[in-house]
């Protein structure tokens, strides 16, 4: 078989695992793809290289393709998300100082109480909280703002969100440049080990099914390379399915640790894949349900309603015309291509490409193309529900 060479940019985080597994276990090769992984020094560099065609595909923060398509930050280019590569997997942590102050208000860390935690945060701190995130257009920042803005005592000037490259997050915490952070693994674990930080919440406690990384591709390129895009979706669907089998976790850890692409030791990869999160140095790890997920509950499906949710946050931040932003965002999430790639090989898919975000408090049986499948939970910490089909939106 003649192999099609493709270049995919990524950042060395645990959640780039589907790409490494697709390459190492030859899921990409089976689809006729010679997958070349290209490590990028920053999200900005990854974005620019995608925009200028130096890479074909990219492991991206879920809001990035939408932000680019809306012309926010850097080069305005229409970029599509072919699939979701992972949901959840982020953690929120605080400095030892802030933790002491919060404990004085009577708060204890249960790692699953967003409302009690945000109340304690604002009660404890007399000055603005300086919070690090990996990139301005990230689910990290969206979750943080969604969560904190609902807290009693919140005011815009009480938080200051800044971008700190994840490998520098632990140092910034140790030096006191940050009070708090939201970051993907392994960097939360590193902050616990090296800067005395405590993890106070997993991102999934704010939104139980938040699309974290997506597979980005230029819209024009996708149109010209439709078959290659579908082959890539199939390869990554198989890789994510493999990754979500618990019996494969030990092997996945050693493949990722040995891979030249990640350059992380076993103990930095383990917590994200086993969902055993150590929230404070010297304490036993906590089993954290719904942590980093690759496949289960249609995790890969690029829901149009997820795109709408992201569009609403971006509209709010940048004073955009909301309906138009939603329309552009929904066109980015290519559930059509995703279906076209996977339906023929017998992958069960949701019946609709839209759901009411936040409606499922528990795993829920819903109708699928092949019968029934389990979706959710996808609830928000405050019970908020987003029904985008209720408004006057064009259907894709």
């Amino acid at each position: 078989m003649k192999m099609t060479p493709i270049h995919c940019g990524y950042l060395p985080l645990v959640d780039c695992a589907p790409l490494i597994i697709a390459q190492e276990l030859r899921f990409a090769a089976e689809e006729g793809l010679d997958l070349q992984l290209m490590k990028q020094p920053s999200w900005s560099a990854l974005r620019d290289r995608l925009a200028f065609g130096q890479i074909d595909f990219a492991h991206m923060l879920s809001p990035m393709p939408i932000a680019m398509s809306l012309g926010l930050g850097g080069v305005a280019t229409r970029v599509d998300a072919l699939m979701v590569l992972s949901v959840n997997g982020t953690v929120i942590g605080i400095s030892a100082d802030l933790e002491r102050q919060m404990q004085q208000t009577g708060w204890t860390n249960s790692f699953d109480a967003p409302q009690a935690t945000s109340r304690a945060l604002f009660e404890a701190s007399s000055r603005p909280l300086r919070i690090g995130v990996p990139f301005p257009f990230s689910m990290h920042r969206m979750l943080l703002e969604t969560w904190l803005s609902q807290a009693p005592g919140y005011a815009q000037e009480r938080i200051e969100i800044v971008t700190v490259p994840p490998p520098q997050m632990a140092d910034a915490m140790r030096e006191g440049a940050l009070d708090m952070f939201c970051v993907g693994e392994p960097w939360g674990t590193v902050a616990v080990q090296h800067s005395g930080a405590s993890l106070i919440l997993p991102g999934s406690s704010i939104w139980a099914c938040a699309p974290e990384k997506v597979l980005g591709v230029r819209h024009d390129w996708a149109a010209e390379n439709n078959q290659t895009c579908q082959a890539m979706i199939r390869a990554l669907s198989k890789a994510t399915h493999w990754l979500d089998q618990p019996q494969n976790t030990p092997l996945a850890t050693s493949i990722l640790a040995r891979s030249q692409h990640l350059d992380l030791p076993d103990h930095a990869i383990d917590p994200a894949l086993t969902h055993q999160i150590t929230t404070k140095l010297g304490q036993p790890p906590r089993q954290t349900d719904r942590f980093l997920r690759f496949y289960q509950s249609a995790a890969n499906f690029p829901w149009l309603s997820q795109a709408s949710w992201i569009a609403d946050v971006l509209s709010d931040w940048h004073a955009l015309e909301n309906d138009q932003a939603r329309q552009i965002a929904r066109a980015c999430f290519r559930s059509d291509l995703y279906r076209a790639a996977l339906a023929p090989i017998g992958v069960d898919l949701p019946k609709t490409s839209e759901k009411v975000e936040g409606a499922m408090k528990a795993p829920t049986l819903t109708s699928s193309t092949m019968g029934q499948m389990i979706l959710g939970p996808d609830e928000f910490f405050n019970g908020a529900v987003f029904d985008f089909s209720a408004s006057d939106m064009p259907k894709n």
Partner: protein, 194 residues
């Protein structure tokens, strides 16, 4: 006229920073400042209020810089990546050279372009110099390893230097490997056995 442009260069490598600054000064831009990292960026943006910021495409601090430029209210004037203001070919050239630039919206294209051309030219020279330096260092290190391997063979097998080298080369050819790889393996093995 161009001299009054306020240029900020973010670069941790002092030699490289010096090179770029010099190129800009030679080009007639006197108001150029260098900072080593983005950690002090917020304060410096307020103090200097630069018209153009130049930063290595591969610099991990770029994400921090973007956040400050696009999102925070540290500056009132909006900032764009230069592609919005100049032609795409120029952007391609800059990205290939490893340069990214941020300019204040509304700055005239004919004032930006010469700055970028100067910076791109110098970036290309620096990259070439660095890769030549790397290659030279590597060659020197390889030669040392091969000399050590030859020395090991000379004393172990009581052969001449030429014979030792021939033996390394023949082994490399037989195994389809490079001479340096065979030499490295030999040196590592002998260190382990000591």
């Amino acid at each position: 006229m161009q001299n009054d442009l306020n240029i900020l260069v973010v670069e941790a490598d002092q030699t490289k920073a010096h090179e770029i600054l010099e190129a800009l000064k030679d080009g007639g831009w006197q108001n150029a400042t260098v900072i080593a990292s983005a950690s002090a960026l917020e304060r410096i943006l307020q103090q200097h209020d630069p018209d153009i910021i130049l930063i290595d495409l591969a610099n991990p601090d770029r994400d921090t810089l973007e956040h400050l430029c696009f999102v925070s209210n540290a500056r009132k004037r909006p900032v764009a990546m230069f592609v919005d203001q100049t032609d795409e070919a120029m952007t391609q050239t800059a990205i290939s050279a490893g340069l990214s630039a941020y300019v204040v919206n509304g700055l005239q294209k004919d004032r930006i372009k010469p700055v970028l051309e100067t910076a791109i030219a110098r970036f290309n020279v620096i990259t070439k110099m660095q890769s030549e330096l790397e290659a030279a260092k590597q060659a020197l290190a390889d030669r040392k390893t091969i000399d050590r391997a030859k020395g090991l063979l000379i004393s172990a097998r009581n052969i001449s230097e030429d014979e030792a080298y021939s033996l390394l080369r023949k082994t490399a050819m037989d195994q389809g490997r490079k001479v340096i790889d065979v030499a490295t393996a030999l040196v590592t093995a002998s260190e382990l056995l000591q």
